[in-house]
């Protein structure tokens, strides 16, 4: 079994020490860091994401795999930064103003990171202006907003409105999600996308990045 396959397998198994050691071994053997990233770490997380979508594994297993992937990334990061490897896209994430629930949002961030996206996580209780300002500042193609409270999810509308008001709708897409949300609500507030759960969010963001 080649090194990259072994790295992917250890990511799936959630073994950070093994992933770290194998990533270092691959670099020492002359494998390009971008190849270790794509063929090892992201390949492993892609399998994990697919298994999660098919409900063969569940969130804790995804997080263990993500932790293993992170340990490999730490090894690669200095060389990746030096080589300027392109990402799948940049996404600004946060929980809507007045809401401090962040688990769902964090999961989306982890899965997006695993799919090769550059994620800027603004945290919880984020005002609309901060979503839009950060997206502009970082050149993000997508803003992802999460809410758990029925009384705060209406605040997502303000973010969508602000993106339009500033004339950014053609280059910044807004995707919303959270337990109480429905696709109908997302459409009603004018969001560009809706994700039922963290797993489906990755696919929707990929579509939106293509559209941005």
């Amino acid at each position: 079994m080649d090194l990259l396959t072994r790295i992917a397998n250890e990511v799936r198994a959630g073994e950070p020490d093994a992933v770290r050691a194998l990533a270092a071994e691959a670099l020492a053997a002359g494998v390009a860091p971008a190849e270790v990233l794509r063929g090892g770490l992201i390949a492993g997380m892609t399998v994990v994401g697919d298994a999660f979508r098919l409900r063969e594994i569940f969130l804790p297993d995804v997080l263990l795999a993500a932790r293993a992937m992170q340990s490999g990334l730490e090894v690669l990061r200095p060389q990746l930064a030096a080589g300027g490897v392109p990402t799948a896209g940049r996404v600004v994430l946060g929980t809507v103003r007045g809401d401090l629930h962040d688990i769902g949002k964090n999961l989306v961030g982890i899965l997006l990171g695993g799919a090769g996206f550059d994620v800027i996580d603004l945290g919880v209780d984020v005002p609309p202006e901060r979503f839009v300002d950060s997206a502009v500042e970082h050149g993000a193609a997508v803003i992802g907003i999460s809410a758990l409270l029925t009384t705060t999810m209406v605040g997502m509308r303000e973010v969508v409105a602000l993106v339009r008001e500033r004339g950014l709708a053609d280059r910044i897409k807004v995707i919303v999600g959270g337990a109480p949300l429905t696709e109908a609500f997302a459409r009603e507030i004018g969001a560009d996308g809706y994700a039922y759960d963290a797993a489906s969010a990755v696919g929707r963001v990929k579509q939106l990045v293509g559209a941005a």
């Binding site: 997080l63 007045g98 688990i103 409270l149 009384t151 949300l181």
Partner: protein, 251 residues
Amino acid sequence: MRGTVRFAAREVVPDPGVVLLRAGIPAGIEPSARTRRLLDAAERHFLALAEPRGIVAELPPAACAEAVRASGRDEPETVLGRVLPLAEATALFAATLGEPLCAQIRSLTAGEDLPLGFMLDALASEAADGLGWRLGALWRERLVGAGPTSAATRVLPYSPGYCGWHVRGQEALFRALPPDPVGIVLNASCLMSPLKSVSGVLVAAAPEAHRFQPDFPFCAACATHECRARMLPWPDDGRTPSGEGEVSWIS
């Protein structure tokens, strides 16, 4: 009547099945061995760090209704607005698991150990939700036979942020409680710190008073309708206080 309660951490540990459900593992699915190890580790952290405590402050239903309406940002019609007129007794409550546990969750989820932080967060969220129910059960014990309540009376917690009651309602609610009740403070957005805290109104009423159809205008935008589960009889699943905690009532 006002009461403060200190629970033993082991008294408020939620059922593992409920925690796994919150952690995204459907009921009836056997978790992987590594998930089970995560849950065990999370429980150890919880028992070492949780400082569960709460306060109940009885307030006449009319005064409670006034405090609840004070946010000015509620939906025109709310669940609590429909339930309160049927209340036999009402009380404000606030409860928390304390800052040390919340700091540990922050530290773990910030990078120290995300999977463990996630599991501890799920466990703590369930435990925090349970505190409102536990306070309600303790308050009910005091009420039954002492007023207009009967053995059939049920006490349910209702919290700002849900079912039409805006999270800003917490501001008025905390004004009616003693300053920094049990160590909880509100930030500028009216969110509670420590994070794993709950607050709201305890409503003692006949069981049918708590039952309603999710037919409010805001229900159409809500995908969960978790309110329905609240109206089912509360099972004796171990969440009833065992009396290990320290309870002091001021009549």
